[in-house]
Assembly symmetry: C6
Amino acid sequence: MADQIELIPGNSLITATPEEGRALAVKMSRLIIKVTQPDADVRTKLRNVYAEDPMMLIAIGQTVATEFATIAAANNYWQKS
Amino acid sequence: MADQIELIPGNSLITATPEEGRALAVKMSRLIIKVTQPDADVRTKLRNVYAEDPMMLIAIGQTVATEFATIAAANNYWQKS
Amino acid sequence: MADQIELIPGNSLITATPEEGRALAVKMSRLIIKVTQPDADVRTKLRNVYAEDPMMLIAIGQTVATEFATIAAANNYWQKS
Amino acid sequence: MADQIELIPGNSLITATPEEGRALAVKMSRLIIKVTQPDADVRTKLRNVYAEDPMMLIAIGQTVATEFATIAAANNYWQKS
Amino acid sequence: MADQIELIPGNSLITATPEEGRALAVKMSRLIIKVTQPDADVRTKLRNVYAEDPMMLIAIGQTVATEFATIAAANNYWQKS
Amino acid sequence: MADQIELIPGNSLITATPEEGRALAVKMSRLIIKVTQPDADVRTKLRNVYAEDPMMLIAIGQTVATEFATIAAANNYWQKS
């Protein structure tokens, strides 16, 4: 497994807004697929499978939800202190 | 994957009530399906599948439960301070 | 998907006891199935499936466990302050 | 679904020790199976299935782990204050 | 299900190091399999199945991750106060 | 199951950056696969399966997300205090 892939863009969990935090969660979850399967052609083939499979789409949502929980806590839920 | 889809309506996790927080959790979970599968026709086809599949319906509930946990914490559980 | 279904009975996570909190968790998890599949006849048909399927029953338990974690935190674990 | 089943024995998350807290987590997870499938004969039949199915046994462990996380937090991890 | 099995070795979540905490998480997750399926011969048969099944191995990892989260929090992440 | 495998490299959850924390989460999740299936040849065979299976790749992402949540909390989200 190629471990030189950047796993957290910008090497920080801190984002300006919840929307950016959500996009980071989506990105981070995809980067784990990438680091586990570095072959881009294989990933494209797999994308065509999971993008049409309800259970896989739901499971992706579960991963993003867990990643986002961490990012939201890291940003203290973007509350104006 | 289309990344210009708005992932968090209103770009905030703060809601007036738990009910609104719950609706936001449902909405946020659906938006991840959308950003992963931007084709509306495909999503309609998939909806007809998961809406009649007990395991998929349960899995959707698990995603919403995790999203809601984050939103509830962000709103300090809507406690009157 | 019918979004006018009440997702949190009483619009509050606060309950008098853990037992009530647990019942709320069960109720909230069912309401997500309902809002995703509003057709009562379909849900009855699905109930006959998942109620006899060990994996689906276990998955329901996982959802309730996550919902309950949120409700318990909201109630500060019902500790006498 | 029979909702008069007691979901939390003793109506409290507080236990004297981690071991008791763990047993409570196991009990609480089983009670959700019971409240979802009140028929004891069906549950016995299902038990013979999941007790010999690795994936179902693992999934039960995931549920107990989530329940235990809540109970452990409720007991402040049984730390001598 | 045999409930006299010790579920938490040493009846404590407190460990000297993260490594010990991780081993405890692995042990605790196995003990739930044991308490759900007390028959050692059956468990040996099941082990030969899940040890060669990628999805089951991954699912075991998910359980350990959740158990470890609880143990790490109980030990305040082993931070020198 | 070989239990002498090191489960947490460096026996600490503390890392200098989020990126290192993320890599630790990936490593820790792999080490649980290793401790459950110590045979390297079997793991290589399994890797060829899960690296081409969308659902398994997604499930690996879920494990890493949970491990990372713990590591991020342990590092107080790498916030400059």
